[in-house]
């Protein structure tokens, strides 16, 4: 992107406030997608402790799982994943040419549904944490 001069604050600051539904959906989808890839790599890294020994694996997992931060992060991951899935479905429908007129509504619906699912699963996720 070339710019003949720096529009500075005017160009960069505050522009996000003017984004419309579709653009927010795009931003969120991007963000969640990246988080998920990041997680995929870490996930495999953690799991591959199994290559060293059975015990190493079990202790790593259980040590991690006993930490509150990890639990909270997991809830975050769930939120991210659920949104990515729901919005991903929305995008798949858009690709099929279904519901283009309601694209903003379906985005809001994904958001709300994500919220609901995440809240509903918090108890399961936080169950049995030792602080």
């Amino acid at each position: 992107m070339s710019q003949s001069y720096n529009r500075g604050l005017i160009e960069d600051f505050g522009r996000w406030r003017e984004f419309s539904a579709g653009m927010w959906a795009w931003i969120f989808h991007k963000f969640t997608g990246w988080v998920l890839v990041g997680y995929l790599f870490t996930h495999i890294a953690v799991l591959s402790t199994a290559l060293t020994s059975e015990a190493a694996y079990t202790t790593t997992i259980q040590a991690l799982e006993s930490l509150l931060v990890v639990r909270i992060l997991e809830v975050g991951l769930l939120a991210v994943a659920v949104f990515h899935i729901l919005n991903g479905l929305r995008l798949l429908f858009v690709d099929l040419g279904v519901g283009l007129e309601a694209q903003d509504k379906s985005f809001y619906a994904s958001l709300i549904l994500t919220g609901v699912i995440v809240v509903a699963s918090v108890p399961t996720f936080l169950a049995g944490v030792s602080i």
């Binding site: 992107m1 001069y5 522009r15 579709g22 653009m23 959906a25 858009v94 690709d95 283009l100």
Partner: protein, 292 residues
């Protein structure tokens, strides 16, 4: 009230060479002009103040050449409101009554020439088609984002034109009837391409698309729509359609679109751009599946 950059003091040497008589005449003229100018500005300001209703505009200003305007800034204008006044009307009023150097493109005043796509209160709109009464104050007017600014509200359109012209935007067919006979086209088919033919090349869509902002080579919604207009026109025939799909399938063609929908939202001609782009993606896939 004038937001004009302060004028420079006259250069001594240039005054010397002029005859005294002319100097006097000039001085008189200048005086008269100054008086006129002051009067005009006073009147304008007065009018603006006394009108029951004035609109506050914040307009982006920049001029690469004029000292003091090289650093972009916003100027404030207070414009008396009249029923039915548009953003373009307000800009013209401000230009004609406050600052004649305020620069923007405009011509038709009726949403058909596509000259005055601007960034108004945070979205891309045609100045002439945007009623002031629909906006909250202050009305912030900026040049289109993601384009080089030439001066004030004028942006460089070259890149947009290049993209438009990259899709072979002209009718091509291998079979034409005699020169005094028209090609037949069904009503349904004309209906199908109708919306896509309405594009006025205003570039609002391109400016709103984050992908186009990031990827300079992306054809952009308007150009893809232009291609759609021909690809879907049955008069061109199947063979041409293949060719058109090939153009669209390039790396920076339809696949770059991430269905942000902002193009569809800002298009002043209500062209369902995302829908058209999506349809082309499906056409392209279908077309290729045929050969698998």
């Amino acid at each position: 009230m004038s937001t004009q950059v302060p004028e420079q003091v006259e250069d001594e040497s240039s005054a010397e060479s002029v005859s005294p008589g002319k100097q006097k005449r000039d001085a008189k003229k200048r005086e008269r002009a100054e008086r006129l100018q002051e009067q005009r500005e006073a009147e304008a300001a007065e009018k603006a103040r006394t009108a029951d209703d004035t609109y506050h505009l914040k307009v982006f200003r920049y001029d690469p050449e004029v000292e003091g305007k090289q650093e972009p800034r916003f100027d404030d204008f207070y414009v008396p409101y009249k029923q039915g006044m548009t953003v373009l009307d307000a800009l013209m009023w401000a230009r004609d009554h406050y600052d004649s150097s305020l620069t923007f493109r405009h011509s038709c005043r009726q949403a058909i020439c596509g000259s005055d796509a601007l960034f108004v209160n945070g979205s891309q709109r045609l100045g002439c088609k945007t009623q002031l009464s629909d906006l909250s104050e202050p009305v912030r007017v900026e040049p289109l984002p993601h384009a080089d600014v030439v001066k004030d509200l004028v942006v460089d359109m070259e890149h947009f034109y290049d993209q438009m012209e990259a899709v072979e935007p002209y009718f091509q067919t291998n079979s034409l009837p005699d020169e005094d006979e028209e090609q037949r086209q069904t009503r349904e088919n004309r209906e199908k391409v109708k919306m896509s033919t309405r594009c006025i090349w205003c570039s609002a869509c391109m400016s709103s698309c984050n992908i186009a902002a990031g990827d300079n080579e992306y054809l952009g919604p308007a150009a893809i729509n232009k291609a759609y207009r021909f690809a879907m026109d049955e008069r061109e025939g199947e063979e041409m359609k293949q060719r058109r799909l090939e153009i669209l399938e390039q790396e920076h063609g339809v696949w770059r679109c991430q269905t942000q929908f902002s193009c569809t939202e800002v298009c002043p001609k209500d062209i369902p751009l995302t829908e058209h782009i999506q349809e082309l993606k499906r056409e392209a896939i279908k077309n290729n599946l045929k050969f698998w």
